[in-house]
């Protein structure tokens, strides 16, 4: 290759191209004249100019394939959302026609009013229940998580590593192992509909509060006040806070308690926000456990209300059903739009722990 450099600086460009094409390069000189030097480089029978062209075409083709594939998959991903929205605006006859239309012939806003009718899908009740359960269980989890993560990240005590390993090991256990006994435990605590709490404060007509309601809330909240995964995440975050800060606060005579709330918690607020949002989304989406412990329609969470209001039988008003589904889905998507960074970071970090 050094030969080319000697020929002249005008070939430097060509030389660069050559170095990216290292295989079987033959160079041949045609019409060797001092003022009109022409260089043709071949690989087999294809000249380098042609090869470049082919490469460019190949690049365009592969980009088209990539974008085409991504666009197709994106359509597949989006289609159910689109379908949900347009179905929620169709008449029942149009939904049940033999050929589907991709845009409603008559836009039925009334589907929403009908779906949110108290007798069909009692949205306000479910919303209040979900918010109460979601917020209290999230706050409780944050507190237990902050305490535990602080102890694991900053304090020294005997058996710390073993305890942490045991905690991590519990993440391997499927929840189904616990669900039956937890149901029995909650029943023994008297938190179920016919339990001791409901006898302590019997429900009175027209009164919102009752023992049964408190019991249902407790049953849906207390078992979820602990999350090993979030303890792990927050501990990692706390560990990144330099030890010098801790020692400095000790010199200033600050207690551990003060240091935790004045320094560590504010510095870890992005992780705490991620945990808060993910946990709230969890409450919004939880179905299995609330379905078991809150069988009274008044105490249902949003997802249980949704499925139970439109459980499948002969004549379902699909327009109403999809309208209710939109109402349940939109808050989640809004949360995602506003807190996209926190949600994706939180989920991603939860994933990369191996």
């Amino acid at each position: 290759m050094n030969i080319f450099k000697k020929i002249g600086s005008s070939f430097e460009k060509l030389d660069k191209k050559l170095s990216t094409q290292p295989t079987n390069v033959k160079a041949s000189y045609e019409n060797v004249e001092t003022d009109n030097l022409k260089l043709v480089i071949r690989e087999g029978t294809i000249s380098i100019d042609k090869m470049e062209k082919i490469q460019k075409v190949m690049k365009v083709i592969s980009l088209i394939i990539i974008y085409g594939f991504l666009a197709l998959m994106a359509i597949v991903v989006i289609l159910p959302f689109y379908w949900m929205i347009i179905t929620s605006l169709k008449t029942n006859d149009e939904i049940r026609a033999t050929t589907q239309t991709f845009w409603p012939m008559v836009v039925m806003w009334s589907n929403y009013a009908n779906a949110l009718n108290k007798t069909v899908f009692d949205f306000p009740t479910y919303l209040i229940n979900t918010l109460i359960v979601g917020i209290i269980s999230t706050l409780g989890t944050l507190i237990t998580t902050i305490f535990a993560a602080f102890a694991f990240a900053r304090l020294n005590f005997k058996g710390k590593d073993i305890l942490f390993m045991i905690l991590l090991a519990t993440m391997m256990i499927p929840g189904e192992m616990m669900v039956i006994t937890n149901y029995i435990t909650v029943a023994n605590f008297g938190w179920l509909n016919d339990g001791s709490l409901s006898q302590l404060w019997p429900s009175v007509d027209g009164q919102w509060f009752s023992g049964a309601r408190l019991g249902a809330y407790l049953a849906m909240i207390v078992p979820f006040w602990v999350s090993v995964l979030y303890i792990y995440l927050l501990r990692q975050n706390f560990k990144q806070i330099p030890n010098e800060l801790y020692l400095a606060s000790k010199v200033d005579g600050k207690s551990d308690w003060n240091f935790l709330w004045k320094v560590m918690v504010p510095l870890s607020s992005p992780t705490l926000i991620s945990i808060f949002i993910l946990k709230l989304m969890g409450a919004w989406n939880s179905y299995v456990w609330p379905n078991l412990v809150a069988d009274d329609p008044d105490f249902r969470l949003i997802t249980n209300g949704l499925r139970n209001a439109f459980s499948v039988d002969g004549n379902v008003q699909y327009g109403y059903q999809m309208a209710a589904t939109v109402v349940v889905t939109v808050p989640l998507l809004l949360l995602f739009i506003f807190f996209r960074k926190y949600i994706m970071k939180g989920v991603g970090r939860a994933g990369i722990k191996g």
């Binding site: 237990t144 535990a148 305890l163 989304m281 078991l292 994933g351």
Partner: protein, 311 residues
Amino acid sequence: MQKKNDWRAWLYLAPVIILLAVFIFYPLISTIAIAFTKDYNYTAQSGSGFTFDNFATIFETTYVDDGSGNLTAVYSDVVKYAIPNTLIIVFVTVPVSIILALLISVGLNSIKFLKKIFQTIFFMPYVTNAIAVGMVFSVIFMGGSNGDGLWNTIFQTTGYTWVDQGAPASRAMLALCVYSVWHALPFKILIFLSGLQNIDKQYYDAAMIDSAGKMKIFSSITVPLLSPQILYIMITSFIGSFKEYTSVVGLFGRAGTLSGYNNMYTIVYYIYDTISLRQVQYGCAAAVMLFVVILIFTAIQFAVSSKRVYY
């Protein structure tokens, strides 16, 4: 220093330890105990001694005389529906969703224009309610007397039932798998994409100099360097698919497409049904089995991959 902090640390840990003891460690032991308890009585919360009968009952095959002396085997719902369904879900949705997610992530990683928008779109199914979207899919898969849904319109399968009353199990299973893959993609894409972004560009430059082909680069650089993420995704999605339940509820609203038959049963669906039927000893036995199967699967995957996962 160590001594001084000792009791304070335990104070900080107390809430977590108490909650874990009551809602994780005690149930773990209790579930195993109930699974091996003879004649467990739900109301009295006691039984009479040790037995393997609960496991036997789950798998029990009874023989019914059809009148002419021929015995017909009647399998339990777990053997007939729950186990085959769960295995189909596991071995269809996990590979399909992993391969799709891998292709999408590699595609996303190689583009710049519109990347953010695509990324956002592909993550959207993650922030949805499994029940709500399951209901949307059941409208998409509508067929038969209900009129034809989107699926039947696109694929020209007029009149086919997929999820409605009377749909055959095989078609219902296809609908369930399509929905499961759709719902499983975003998490996998997110993990793969963050893994891809951490791969050092040097490897690809080196491959360019050696003029390696795209497929060669994919199989010799991308996949090996992504192997920790692939292992993690494989383990979590195997476990997740073994526990499929809410997707069935969302899509079908009940345990089967034929009235009286639980043909869409999964193992976890069976476990939850035993609670309302007050036959928790069978549910506990099934849960113990599920736990053991998951442990074995995870161990196998670790063993196989210990040779193949780099770093």
